[in-house]
Assembly symmetry: C2
Homo-oligomer: 152 residues x 2
DNA sequence: ATTCTTGCAAAACCTTTGCATACTG
DNA sequence: CAGTATGCAAAGGTTTTGCAAGAAT
């Protein structure tokens, strides 16, 4: 079963309707999920395709998808919300380049020990986490190096 | 040397001026730093004290303080930016309660091994990180438990 | 004196909401 | 048909900006 089908089934199971706009937005979201598209960006893509779907519907659909747990709303500090698939146990972290604002994903989760420790020591029942690293990607490190070479 | 003095020295060293509004905002920020006050909240406190300082100045001062590395801008997902002192090596993480929105701080940093691993495997030069845990604080766990008891 | 800073108001920006219309189950 | 969902426009909230007046070095 595809991710789209899964979204449709969950929506229908919860009394929501499977509409054209929702189908189209979800398709586009999945096609661009690795770019962490924002609502505004999805809307732009729709407009470029001469779609009639309004910005409000994009926002409402993304909110709904987050509500049913199909996606996670992320904040990379660039002024808008971005999204990722809530892919079950697919744990990963984000590397945010402070040079070019690109976001890389790290495929590892070494936080379980830390989580258990926190749950014990702070009596806090953890349900999720979000770990962001800031720094320079390989390309921007290269560029920074070249700039400092030129300056000499 | 107090934190305020340090901020003043860095500002002056970089050609910025040490003004009344900045002094007042920094004092208030430090007094309320553990509450992670937002710009709007600082402005409210100022108004309650009959200060003439405008909201724009609060925003500009906070932005400036973040720029010189005196504070870090944080996002807890409640629609506004909040701040913490960029306290050198004072590493900690945030526990955000999804019940009451309170933010607790965890005084531990077990990410160094993970950071080194990421720097090696992804050629990413890490300069900072932000780790947020979501879940229920002790009080909200208690409340959730009582609610489910009542339901029986 | 020069440069930076301030307050105010207006604008920008992302996001949400009201409402009449259109669609889904 | 009943209940949702949609598009549009308007409103909401946070943050930024233009500008003339004021303050710091």
């Amino acid at each position: 079963m595809s991710a789209t089908d899964k979204a449709r089934d969950v929506l229908l199971a919860q009394g929501y309707k499977w509409t054209g706009p929702r189908r189209e937005i979800i398709k586009l979201l999945l096609d661009n999920i690795e770019r962490h598209v924002s609502a505004e960006e999805l809307y732009s893509i729709l407009q470029a395709k001469n779609s009639e779907i309004g910005l409000a519907t994009v926002y409402r659909t993304l909110e709904l998808l987050a509500e049913i747990g199909f996606i996670h709303k992320l904040n990379f500090g660039d002024g808008c919300s971005r999204y990722e698939l809530a892919d079950g146990d697919h744990h990963h972290h984000h590397l945010i380049c402070t040079g070019c604002a690109k976001v890389l994903e790290v495929e590892m989760d070494l936080l379980e020990t830390l989580e258990q420790q926190i749950e014990r020591e702070y009596s806090f029942a953890i349900s999720g986490h979000h770990l962001k690293f800031f720094g320079l990607c390989q390309g921007c490190q290269q560029e920074a190096k070249e700039d400092s070479d030129e300056a000499q």
